[in-house]
């Protein structure tokens, strides 16, 4: 497929994602929604810390920043996971356009990436709002002059590739079945990352068997790299985490392409592209 065809499909998929996901109400209500949701999610973990520090013995103030940064950037994971399985389900069953997209020369892979990118952009806005709220209102000890922006940017880019790869696997599953609920599966997978990837607590707090799981998930290293970038940790340490992140991301990316290809074949073989299941 020519590069400009890919770019065009991608661009219009992003446009479509924005239109479908953001255009459901007037701008003011959408703005309120975009602000309240991430802040409410953040306040839950902030208060978990505050309550824990009042009743518990560990009152390390750095842990609050740890929790804050982890939970804030996790918004990207949750939103993209949820949306990528849901896109297939919605397009197939609600809008009945999946088959129209399928029979066009546009690549399904590029289309899904475009929709994921659209979600990522909206999620990044939520992340920015949360960070702003945390620093300005909750007085989080984040010094914007200490942030290693280059490392943060690189971590985010590689991390988004990793997250999208998992999202592609979810979309592939959604191509084959609606039984388990497209959104539910996405939430479940996001839940696995939430627990095992050091989002709210160091992975060393997990039992040994769970730590093994953490070590093979790329998002564990993503969390470490993002946190380190936000708190201005030295480049050598961040680069190590970014390198491992990149390596694991590469593996999962290749796996996701294979899974999508297989799902595409199976969906066409079983005639699933245009089914309606009423799920």
């Amino acid at each position: 497929m020519a590069v400009k065809d890919v770019a065009r499909s991608f661009r219009h998929s992003v446009w479509l994602g924005w239109k479908v996901d953001a255009n459901w109400t007037d701008p003011l209500l959408f703005a309120i929604y975009s602000v309240i949701r991430p802040i409410a999610g953040m306040l839950i973990v902030i208060f978990l810390f505050l309550v824990g520090s009042q009743v518990g013995e560990n009152t390390d103030p750095n842990y609050l920043s740890y929790v804050f940064v982890g939970n804030t950037f996790f918004i990207l994971v949750a939103q993209i996971m949820l949306s990528m399985g849901w896109v297939i389900h919605e397009d197939r069953e609600h809008y009945e356009v999946l088959k129209c997209i399928y029979i066009s020369p546009a690549s399904l892979y590029v289309y899904l990436l475009g929709r994921a990118f659209s979600t990522a952009l909206m999620a990044l806005i939520s992340v920015a709002i949360s960070l702003l709220f945390g620093v300005a209102v909750l007085q989080m000890p984040i010094d914007i002059f200490l942030i290693n922006y280059a490392a943060l940017g690189l971590s985010l880019i590689i991390g988004l590739v990793a997250i999208s790869s998992f999202g592609l696997i979810l979309a592939s599953v959604a191509l084959l079945t609606a039984r388990h609920g497209a959104g539910m599966v996405g939430e479940a997978v996001a839940g696995i990352f939430y627990l095992f990837c050091g989002v709210l607590f160091p992975v060393s707090a997990l039992p040994p068997w769970a730590q093994v799981v953490s070590k093979v998930l790329p998002l564990t290293y993503w969390m470490k790299a993002v946190r380190a970038s936000m708190f201005g940790v030295g480049p050598a340490e961040i680069l190590n985490d970014i390198a491992v992140l990149a390596a694991y991301t590469g593996v999962f990316y290749i796996v996701s392409l294979g899974v999508l290809r297989l799902a595409d074949y199976l969906a066409r073989d079983k005639g699933l592209i245009d089914i309606t299941t009423e799920y």
């Binding site: 065009r8 479509l16 809008y95 356009v97 088959k99 129209c100 020369p105 005639g271 592209i273």
Partner: protein, 326 residues
Amino acid sequence: MENSVETRNVSRIFKSGRNGGSARIVKALDEVNLKIRTGELFGLLGPNGAGKTTLIKILCTLLLPSSGSAFVRGHDVVKEANSVRRKINMVTGGETPGYGILTVSENLWFFSQLYGIRGDVAKPRVKELLETVGLEDQTKTRMNRLSSGMKQRLNVARGFINDPEVLFLDEPTLGLDVLSAKHIRGYIRNWVNTQPEKTVLLTTHYMAEADELCDRVGIIHEGRVVACDKPSSLKAMVKDKTVFQFDVAGGGDYTKLKTIKGVVGLSWTHRIESDTSTLKLVLSDQGVASEIESALKISGSRILSISTPEPTLEDVFIHLVGKGLE
């Protein structure tokens, strides 16, 4: 290229049944061989469940055949799916794909971009197509605000957005009002007439539509193509047979008439509003008609009229299959 669409022994089997139930195997297509010439408007006629939609899905690369091979514009639909997709489009009647939250023009615009159509070409084409289907006043209306007929017209417009080389129309006028359906048929016919390199495969169970529009018609029954020729040639198949039409009062089950020797095929329809039935019989010779008349009188049916209409494609179907298109 002589043939735009070609199938070679295409079969498709579906297995259904799970959760403890016994598996059911359905042979939706059974060694279908078809050649559709470039520039042809080809009709595929058959009742519901005959395999028309299954065949279209295979040719559109949505479904893989269980065996056999199929080619669109020389490209294998399985191995060269992307090449096929550049040259085709499909419209399924009775469906209204589209994003409710987008406007009419935004929906068409999005689909144009999936085909990589440049903006300066896409914009006037969107405008022209909306005028063609009578939606030029609804350009800025969100799709979820359209009536079902309007959504279907938008669906038809979507089918032409990329000016495909091969267009698959799966019962495109299903659910449209009479005037809209007539208008769409006229547009399709004109589209093929004025562009000899375009090809259309149209499936329908409306005999009159196939008769009016198609250069050639294939009749499909239980997954097999039982006949394929020009409408006039197909009708000539029943030339040596006689087609009789009986209009009777009331309704009933006339299946027993099939047991009369000389009855090749039978179909009937009952009109509730007038409580009358029209029986169409394909007979081996005229003499059988009097036996039919006697049988109806004996069973208590009051015959209102008897006529010998010109053979139609339905009569051809009855002749080939033994019953009508229920």
